[in-house]
Amino acid sequence: MTDWIEPQLSASLDAWRLSSRRTPRRHAVERAHDAMLEAVLVESRRPHARRFLSFSFRPRFRHAGLIATTATIVAAASVAAAGWNAAPGSALFVVRAARQGVMLKLPGADDIALHLEFAEQSLADATGHVNPAQSLADATTELHAAFTELSVDPSSPLWPRYKLDAATLLSEEGDVESERPSPAPTGETPGPTGDDSPSSSASERGDDETARPTAGHDSAPSPTGSWSGGNDGGGSDDGGSPSPGQTPHPDD
């Protein structure tokens, strides 16, 4: 003992200690030993089919732990399933974005094909009028990413697919533009050639490209008018970012 204890208290503690250290009675010891061996026997006969569920929870918490774990797994699976192809703008769209991000990061993934696939999903959403603006923006981003990677491989077999998707994008953008309510009349009627806004030119080009999705070199469908039209003036790219117009064409 490290602390000084007053004699009276020490005497009481000694008495307590002596009283507690009484020798157990022989018959009680034998009874306990027999009971323990009986329990060992019973335990050895018990099936251990549930061993794979042998959590280290205390018995009183075992059921609660199992229920909580199961509920968590079910909830996570439900969220993942519900958000797997969630529509753009929905609360679960982050799940879809995360899923696409993971697919792109998987080793051995064909990034170009995946970008095209994601673009096609977004285009399908736009076609189905599911948040068209957001869907087209996503498709544009994916096609841009696909184009960036395609541009280093002029002989890629994915070029035709890309062109088709780009043409579809232009077509969808045209549809969206045509469905947009016209602005209030201001007294000035923009001339057909005076309006050089990206949306207008994209719409016009989209109509043209939709008719001939696999047109020749000069009229190859290009998303430039749509995504870079608002950024850098359509096809007049300054060379800072890749553009289909500047890309070595597979047919070249």
Partner: protein
């Protein structure tokens, strides 16, 4: 001999390797492993229960319950060193004692053993009465404080051992012991004065 100071186990399983083997055998469900653990730890568990309950018969019942309960839960025992195994048995015992007290299944009794020749029954009775006063005074303590007093003053564990097996710092154990002793002293004082 009524108070057998030597009967505290340890002789059979003093070797750490043998204790580890006994625990492993017990975990495999082999009777000889359980018998070795029983012989080593029965006295400690019994002393712990008796220190709390003060009733020899109740302490024997609780000790039996501890070893029966240990059979079903020994697979969860990872640390096979002696202090850890002892702490594991005492942990079970602590909860069995609490269960026993809650059930109130048995009236406390002195259960004096006066069959040993040469021992003054009056002296035994006096010691037991004083011990009962200590147990009554311990009613004012928390469960953790009681646990520490038993480990320190009945099982003679060092501060370091108590700290290690109760997952506290030595300072915390020392502080708890000091407060517990002070509470016991205060509880005993008026009775002595009376």
């Amino acid at each position: 001999m009524i108070f057998d100071e030597s009967n505290r186990g340890g002789a059979n399983l003093a070797d750490t390797h043998r204790l580890t083997q006994a625990v492993e055998a017990a975990q495999r469900g082999e009777a000889h492993g359980w018998t070795a653990l029983f012989e080593r730890f029965y006295p400690d568990v019994h002393a712990y229960a008796l220190a709390r309950l003060g009733d020899l018969t109740a302490a024997e019942d609780v000790t039996q319950d501890v070893f029966v309960a240990a059979v079903t839960s020994i697979k969860t025992l990872r640390d096979r060193r002696e202090p850890a195994v002892q702490a594991w048995f005492l942990h079970i015992c602590r909860y069995k004692v609490v269960d026993h007290i809650r059930r109130g299944s048995r009236q406390r009794g002195l259960a004096l053993d006066t069959t040993h020749p040469g021992v003054d029954p009056g002296a035994i009775a006096e010691v037991n009465l004083e011990a009962d006063r200590v147990r009554a005074a311990m009613a004012h303590l928390t469960e953790d404080q009681r646990d520490i007093l038993i480990r320190r003053f009945v099982l003679d564990q060092s501060l370091e051992d108590v700290a290690a097996t109760t997952r506290r710092t030595v300072g915390a154990v020392k502080s708890m012991q000091h407060r517990a002793l002070e509470a016991v002293r205060r509880a005993l004082s008026p009775k002595r004065a009376a």
